[in-house]
Symmetry: C2
């Protein structure tokens, strides 16, 4: 496992004035990671190296293979070993392939019931609009490469708990949720997940797998992300570009002074 | 199959002045598509509906399952039927899962030899820097949703041949390449592929599968995208934001007046 997600390479840059420079450039590292359970490959993902155990753990959570820390016997660079019950559960679902195999959204809904409503789980507009800057400040690699996504888990007062970066938005979310899972913090039922970029179905579903009631993204959500959030009782926020944002579902969790 | 990749929904928007509006909003449609060969599911991808046959065809090309139009007996919403030779080839590789299963980059390199060098395959700086505007002009859905990627295939004079949009960058590339494949235009050895967003390994590899010598992206490439392009004799251009751009590999295909 590497300590940095950045590689430096000499490239040719054409500048605004048409002049050419041969200069070093920082690129986001992308390499394949096989996620194995025992000897069986569950999925191979193209990810930025680092926090690989977290990535594997978060992936297993989002695939409903594990629900509690104690279900994992060992997790390491050579694979994940599950305890017996989880191994049996894995046996029943391993025919579907992890990252690509969202074969049946109905099956996902069955694995992850909607978030329970809780009137005190609310976030102030001021807090919500403070999050993108907090995420960016903690995103060291983006500034250098411009090519890496981030996922942050914040509490309802806006305090950052975990921030992870990866070339894939879904991997960044897996790493953040995986860290929380390994620390025994799930469900994150009083937290908000913020992702750079867009909110696809997969991001909202991963949030649900960790029990996260509020999912926000800096860019656009998809129709399926919105419909899934509506059904799973999750608040979905898009285009979070302070002072503006859009609310796509369960607006009751955002304290809107003027509403 | 639908004619549009956009769904309209009522959402709450917080405006810059803090006022709230309940208004219709255009969202990119995201829905699962199963790509089947006969009765076997090869992959399930989350895509924007429309041009599904192209998506399936492009995917099969990039997975080295088909190389020529005549290998496909039928292609439809209910699946792809292959002719005998290709079906046998599919049988030998079907254990690897499509979208997630870039199990072995070495295996990919074996399936797709490097692009042959051809001194006349070059693009002028002026032509290259004209492409982002041409792509954007043809990208109707992005303007409305802000949440959709595009892939464009251009000839070396900058003439747009095929432009496709999708919520997933890799799907947009599959659709564009799939269209070219169905029209019998492969290899696209005198063309350039331009994608919105970043250039991951997958994008460069899909370009290679269609024989495309020049791949450009509006944002950052990854280390693996660059290394793969260098090995496969492809020119990789990143941060194509006229008048600037970066050259990561095989710069000889870009005519640099001042170099």
């Amino acid at each position: 496992m590497k300590d940095t997600g950045i590689g430096s390479e000499k490239i040719i840059r054409r500048k605004r004035d048409g002049e050419l420079e041969y200069q070093p450039d920082d690129l986001t590292i992308e390499e394949p990671l096989e996620i194995r359970i025992g000897r069986k490959t569950l999925a191979t993902t193209m990810r930025t190296p680092g926090h690989d155990e977290e990535l594997a753990a978060g992936f297993l959570v989002s695939e409903a293979i594990v629900r509690e820390r104690k279900e994992i016997a060992t997790i390491s660079a050579t694979g994940v070993k599950l305890k017996l019950d989880s191994a049996q559960r894995f046996g029943t679902i391993s025919s579907s392939c992890g990252i690509c195999g969202k074969n049946s959204i109905a099956a996902i809904r069955q694995n992850f019931p909607p978030i329970a409503s809780s009137p005190e789980v609310r976030i102030a507009t001021e807090t919500l609009t403070s999050l993108p800057d907090l995420l960016r400040e903690r995103q060291g690699d983006f500034v250098r490469t411009g090519g890496i996504h981030a996922a942050g888990i914040f509490d309802l007062t806006g305090k950052p708990k975990i921030v992870r970066e990866d070339i894939g938005r879904h991997n960044a979310v897996d790493k953040a949720i995986g860290r929380a899972f390994l620390d025994g913090l799930l469900p994150l039922d009083r937290h908000i997940l913020l992702v750079s970029g867009r909110a696809s179905f997969e991001i909202v579903q991963k949030g649900l797998s960790a029990g996260i009631p509020i999912v926000a993204s800096v860019s656009a959500p998809s129709t399926l992300a919105m419909n899934f959030a509506r059904e799973s009782n999750q608040t979905l926020i898009g285009f979070l570009r302070p002072p503006s944002f859009n609310l796509y579902s369960h607006v009751e969790r955002v304290i809107l002074e003027k509403y």
